[in-house]
Assembly symmetry: C2
Homo-oligomer: 215 residues x 2
């Protein structure tokens, strides 16, 4: 498929530093943007349609589900949330890199619906450290922290199904690895095949590569 | 296979800057070393056995060929040169990263014999630039330059069979891409599976990952 951009899917247990790392990625790669999800949840004060979410009716959402337009979708406490395949594909074809910050269930759905997606699991260095980070936020009750740790265990069991695993022990080291994964994916021959024209400005070289392709 | 190190195979047409880039890689990655080839060619003055080459008799070399010990081998003007599989595997199992700087024929042989090898093709930005670089060396005759350009054309036709393509237009940009490829390959789940123990110091997390592995 002639996708010019990369679809990067990042998942991590709560408290692993995913939000910070995603923000750093968006700052580093000017061509990268977050995917805007569709939701049936009513907009909160200040939320902008098409920027924070695409706010749609339940009927419209269900129609999109039936038409198979979601790369992934989920019911969260009665509200539906989903990532539109047509919208993501359009952005990728325009050459944008799209970042999806979603949970494990959603990530595996995306991989199934779009195998070209690059799945990265951010791993805490230890449960001890994860617990420490969750406590240091000071926002969650003991019960919530316990629950988050149990959810983390289930999520970590799915890490082997991701393409890459990055342990976030030292933030800069983890960020460097994320950057490297994106840079390397852009050098993959499989991804470049449709872009030889853009990559290499010499027609003679492009012709040789295309010739080999057709063998 | 529980290979702890990476086997990186780099090929490029003569004049593309491969030697410079390989030297930069060895300087950057302290754990990386060149593979030492076996050869039937007699040692030149100052060459050290086991460092520059392993110098062996034709009989010994042919025995190794029969035993299937070469990842790749070739006859170059009557002398035999080859990369020993058992030697490379030993180094990889010890956790070393091995760099192989070989031609296209050899690289494709390596991939066939060890699919875990990571093949990187360094591409000149254009034939014009390649010709300019070959001339600026001032070492080759017009005839040799013509020959090198023709060989380059045949080599470039094989680039689509490599895992990655890096265009060496600006040296630092190309080097950054090479570094990224190596860093990213080390984050690949497939490669990490056998190293969860080393990667993650928390037994509980390692156990969860292994559990998922066995599903």
């Amino acid at each position: 498929m002639p996708l010019k951009g990369l679809l990067i899917v990042v998942s991590a247990p709560s408290g692993t530093g995913k939000t910070t790392l995603c923000r750093m990625l968006l700052k580093e790669f000017k061509n990268m943007e977050f995917s805007v999800s569709y939701t049936t949840r009513p907009p909160r004060k200040g939320e902008v349609n098409g920027k924070d979410y695409f706010f749609v009716s339940r009927e419209e959402f269900e129609r999109m589900v039936e038409e198979g337009d979601f790369l992934e979708w989920a019911n969260v406490y009665g509200n539906l949330y989903g990532t539109s395949k047509s919208q993501v594909l359009k952005a990728l074809e325009e050459g944008k890199d799209i970042l999806l910050d979603i949970d494990v269930q959603g990530a595996l759905q995306v991989k199934k619906n779009l195998p070209e997606a690059v799945l990265i699991f951010i791993m805490p260095p230890s449960f001890e450290e994860l617990e420490k980070r969750l406590r240091s936020r000071g926002t969650d009750s003991e019960e919530v922290i316990e629950k988050r740790l149990n959810v983390a265990k289930e999520e970590i069991k799915k890490a082997p199904f991701y393409d890459y695993i990055v342990v976030n022990d030292v933030l800069d080291v983890a960020f460097n690895k994320l950057k490297a994964i994106i840079t390397a994916e852009k050098c993959k021959t499989e991804r470049l095949k449709n872009q030889f024209d853009k990559l290499i400005k010499d027609r003679a070289i492009v012709e040789l590569l295309k010739e080999a392709e057709n063998v």
